[in-house]
Amino acid sequence: MSIESPTDLATLVKDDEVHQSVYTDPAIFAHELERLFGRSWIFVAHDSEIPRPGDFKTDQLSRWRLLLVRQQDGSIGLFHNVCRHRGALLCHESYGNTQAFKCMYHGWTFANDGALRGVPMREHMRGLDLPAHGLVPIPRVQSYQGFIFASLAPEGESLEEYLGGAKRYLDLMVARAPDQAIAAVKPVQYHYRGNWKLQVENYSDNYHPAVLHHSVLSIGVQMLKEKFGDQPLNARSGGRYVERVLGHGHSMADYQGGRGALWMNAYDDEYLRTLAKRAGTERAQELRDADIHLIIYPNLLIHVRMNHYRVIKPVSVDHTIVNTYPCKLVGASKSVNDALIYNTSHHVSAAGEVQVDDLQAFNWVQEGLGSGAIEWIPFKLYGEEEHVDVQGENVSYGTSEAAIRGQYREWARWMTAPATNAAHASDHSASYR
């Protein structure tokens, strides 16, 4: 199947089937960068990664090199991490604190707000418009509850409109901290030889764990039995979890507390008492037991119980990097936060217990799809009592692929949307219009 236009892209996605080329075709990946990542809101950092003025973070998303700087007034500056002179990569550290960025090649120097401050031999430059040679800004940067997002499109819906129904789960992340803030630590990084969407889908896929993770789950279940006997683990829900498709490709799966919190054993009585003082006992228990996988499409995954977020960074059609940031609950005891960081580390690291299984699956799916043996991939698993609730969200119970179907509705929306709102004012290499 060759792709000539956005109309063709629309034919790759049906209500509950997806063509394999969306995982394997480099041309479609290039379209995704321009049309989806180049226009929607993409997550870039959490506030706590760069708390003080002068703090910076650099990152890479496919070909884009990003430089995120905390300004003197507390606002965020986000620029292409590229010297405006000859195009050299400007800053080479992942994190740091500085007043200015100096290019190692000819010494052009930029202030934290991106302004060009120093040009060696400037008196000999002819016709160089200095104010026009600051760092190239990313058009839009907005944040919600400390989660900082960027859009490479100069115009479009606001971040809050884009987040929509997902906002209240970001509120939840904050509400679970005694001091109503989370603080990220340095990320654990993994990668796999597969398409970025495999990781997004996997995060909302509750069809696979009993099979793929059987080896580690059997150890976990045994540990739980030794600790708690045969008491039901999901008392509140009777063992069912809830899945909500939130629009814009976002979704959440609520595991209804209990199981994970008991298994992980991170939250102590002191944590509960501190929360109860602010929120009342009942709400404090709900907050403690919250056990939710949240997907903010296209590149942010949030684990409410383990208190981490993951950033998906597509490299190429068949190579993806995922950075996982364990977070502390500010105001919780050291033992709670130690347990959160420990559990996230051992869940996702390259020598960890769970994610390594998924990476194996991603590698094999990519290899199998790459063979071209199958054309259409079914996402035809439907949950129980699927309905649209008063908030307009698709709700179902039990195991379902509703979230994945929602992701492809959003994918198709971006991939087929007209390019009239000039996705890349500052991106001269965009080839597809």
Binding site: V185, P187, Y190, S215, I341, Y342, S345, S349, G352, N363
Partner: protein, 158 residues
């Protein structure tokens, strides 16, 4: 400076450890550990605060025993098929010797063949070895992968 005999003894001990890991004789490897062992693969840097920073692994004996069992579990997808590994151990230095505890540094070049890909992992290992009536035992092992600030995929028991 350690005596030649001591140097030889420790090198032989580390070669034996590498051989057990390479042959996936993980249950025998466990017997080289003390019951209060701490095993650490730091994340992002050579050192760190074990509780305040993320880790790739930080485990005690019980967790390592579970890890060994999982590594040998044929239904464990990340071990399908089991990776082939090769250890080159060198630069063995006895840094300190006091009260029956040896501080040892070694360089390890670990090759992992998995899914038709051969990956090389240069590693600095740091040991604290305890003398027992039954020979040396590992009370502490730190595995510093120089690539621990890069995205990694699947690591075997090192």
């Amino acid at each position: 400076m350690a005596t030649l005999e001591r140097q030889h003894e420790i090198e032989q001990f580390l070669y034996h450890e590498a051989w057990l890991l390479e042959r996936r004789r993980f249950n025998e490897w466990l017997k080289l550990l003390t019951e209060d062992v701490a095993y650490w693969i730091p994340n992002a840097a050579e050192d760190g605060d074990i509780s305040d920073d993320a880790v790739i692994v930080y485990e005690n004996f019980g967790a390592l025993r579970a890890r060994a069992a999982r590594s040998l579990d044929p239904s464990n997808p990340s071990q399908m098929p089991p990776p082939r590994t090769k250890y080159f151990v060198s630069n063995v230095t006895i840094a300190d010797e006091s009260e029956g505890l040896l501080q040892v540094r070694a360089s390890v070049l670990l090759y992992v063949l998995k899914d038709s890909r051969l990956e090389a992992h240069p590693i600095s290992c740091e040991y604290r070895l305890r003398s027992t009536g039954d020979g040396w035992r590992i009370a502490f092992k730190k595995v510093y992968l120089i690539s621990n600030n890069q995205p990694l995929s699947q690591l075997p028991l090192i």
